[in-house]
Amino acid sequence: MSSYNNSARFNEARKVAIFGGTHGNEMSGVTLVNLWVKNSAEIQRKRVETKPFITNPRAVEKCSRYVDTDLNRAFSPENLSAPEGDNLPYEVQRAQEINRMFGPKGSPEAYDVIFDLHNTTSNMGCTLILESSKDHFNLQMMNYIKKAIAPASCLVLLNEHPLLKYSTSRSVAKHPVGLEVGPQPQGVLRSNIFEAMRIILKHALDFIELFNEGMEFPPCTVEVFRVSERVDYPRDANGNIIAMVHPNLQDCDWEPLNPGDPMFQTFDGKTIHYQGPGTVYPTFINEAAYYEKQQAFVTTRRETLLASAIRKHEN
């Protein structure tokens, strides 16, 4: 019996996966997933089958982000439909395998939810990454998690930018959820970051269990930070960076950056100011892996999304 006329209906989310090691040197996810592969009691819920899975074992072995190419950019239609063969980069082969196991992407057989566990060197705290503003299931889940972990905070980053959106490992699922926790250096495991990630997962799985049991979630609003622009480091003609993130901006992820605020500091000590037209909210500030992606940080804009009521289909 729905108390809301226009509640969105979804199938039960019975097939859930937790991905770790999509980047082999982001240790919280690698460690948690390895732990759960051995003993999955902690992630089991009624009416849900949760599969912990190491997505890039060779990169985990090397403790490097990737072997040939970034797995978390490899799930494009071209890659997934490329003729199979040993000459394909390791991560493209791996993307095809993962797509077969957890997808196919976009098909009714695909997994319902995939959580992909990441760490960042940026001071982002706990961040949930949402790939679509119209995914009311995910919006409700994120709202649930935010409430459950209060007063600790967990922010939502929305990336549906036509150019900056990329084809993630989790995108194989119907409801892809990225989880990014920092700051933590690559190759390092910090207990506080590890525990924070573990708690978010607990609440996320609780939400799915409640949903599957038939609980109806009333309409709500979710504050998100929408990816708006990529900002690169100043570079010389050879492509080498000539400046660092300014000390006033370093570690200030999610805080307003206003026109005229210091943004970079050159290696000889000069300050470069932000010249954009209005206030933005930078994040992924000084992420180690993004030097090679020509990104010092991304700017976002705050907005409030409306999530409609949801409940499961009566079968």
Binding site: M244, V245, F267
Partner: protein, 336 residues
């Protein structure tokens, strides 16, 4: 107080990129090279009147290019007497070749042609502030430079770490100079350059060069007590006896508390099932290199040191006559 007169230090080397993903040193040495390139000829003449030459070296360019610690093996373990002097295999690891090149450029280790001072720049993910790491607790040059930096940069927490290893067995790049030390600054993730860490390193290097210049120009430096942390032992993570993978992380109460005295019974690790493991040693010691990224593969979760105070004498540079007399003395000693 006792006065010790020491030989001049005409040749100083500043090295970065010995570990290719420790970016403060990489970018600082690049910046020093850029300034050298852009310095006009006239300014260079002025520079020449200074009391010393400064050699800036990017030690492991291939690892820098990949932004990884090393290519085949850790370069900063390749400078023992044995490794530098044993025959090379047919396909030697890149770093073994590189260590010989650097020894030819800055050494040879243990010889009188070696540069006078090698300062090698490093970063750590541990919350160690600025540390000097040296193989000697009686190298008055290193200790005086350390004290100079302490005085010039009072806002920076600074420690002198002593690894008690003989010169033949010493393995790091800075061991090939007549005097040498590493400057280790953290916390900074590998593959990242943080402006605060870079700026600290830059001023540290500047003050180091200033001190050498003052010393060479005849300034007398008063002696006194210096706090020294002598490395006692390393502690590994608890590991699964079959897979060798770690089964615990550094305890939140120990994380980031480098150089805070660790007492017997204090929490050290937290297992993934939430259990606290405690420090079982009998002696309270000072932890450092807590949760350094590169030491997981070396089996080191943290190192422990004992603190002591070293009385360092007043020093000044030898006069030319003293230097001559010393050389003669040295030569006659060698003949004996």
């Amino acid at each position: 107080m006792e006065l010790v007169c020491l030989p001049r230090l005409p040749r100083v080397a500043v090295c970065g990129g010995t570990h290719g993903n420790e970016l403060s040193g990489v970018y600082l040495v690049r910046e020093l090279l850029r300034v050298q390139r852009e310095t006009s000829e006239k300014e260079k003449e002025e520079e020449d009147k200074k009391s010393m030459s400064v050699l800036t070296v990017l030690a492991n360019p291939k690892a820098m290019q990949r932004c990884s610690r090393y290519i085949d093996t850790d370069l900063n373990r390749c400078f023992t007497h044995a490794i530098l002097n044993s025959p090379l295999s047919d396909k030697p690891p890149y770093e073994m070749v590189r260590s010989r090149d650097l020894n030819a450029l800055l050494g040879p280790k243990g010889s009188c042609e070696a540069v006078d001072l090698v300062c090698d720049l490093h970063n750590t993910t541990a919350n160690m502030g600025l540390c000097f790491i040296s193989y000697s607790d009686c190298d008055w040059i290193c200790l005086h430079i350390f004290r100079h930096l302490q005085r010039q940069m009072p806002e920076i927490s600074m420690r002198y770490i002593h690894f008690d290893v003989s010169n033949r067995e010493s393995y790091s790049l800075d061991s090939i100079g007549k005097h040498g030390f590493a400057i280790e600054i953290g916390p900074q993730p590998h593959g990242v350059v943080r402006s605060n860490i870079y700026t600290t390193m830059k001023s540290g290097v500047q003050h180091m060069l200033d001190w050498v210049h003052f010393f060479n120009s005849g300034t007398t430096f008063e002696g006194g007590l210096v706090e020294v942390f002598t490395m006692v032992k390393n502690i590994d993570y608890p590991r699964d006896c079959v897979t060798c993978s770690i089964t615990a992380a550094i305890h939140p109460k120990l994380q980031d508390r480098d150089f805070c005295l660790l007492h017997p019974g204090d929490p050290m690790f937290q297992t993934f099932s939430g259990e606290t493991l405690r420090y079982k040693g009998k002696e309270a010691l000072y932890p450092f290199f807590i949760n350094e990224c590169a030491y997981y593969e070396k089996g080191i979760a943290l190192s422990l040191a004992r603190k002591k105070h070293v009385m360092i004498p007043t020093v000044r540079v030898q006069t030319e006559q003293e230097e001559q007399a010393n050389k003669l003395g040295f030569a006659s000693e060698e003949e004996e």
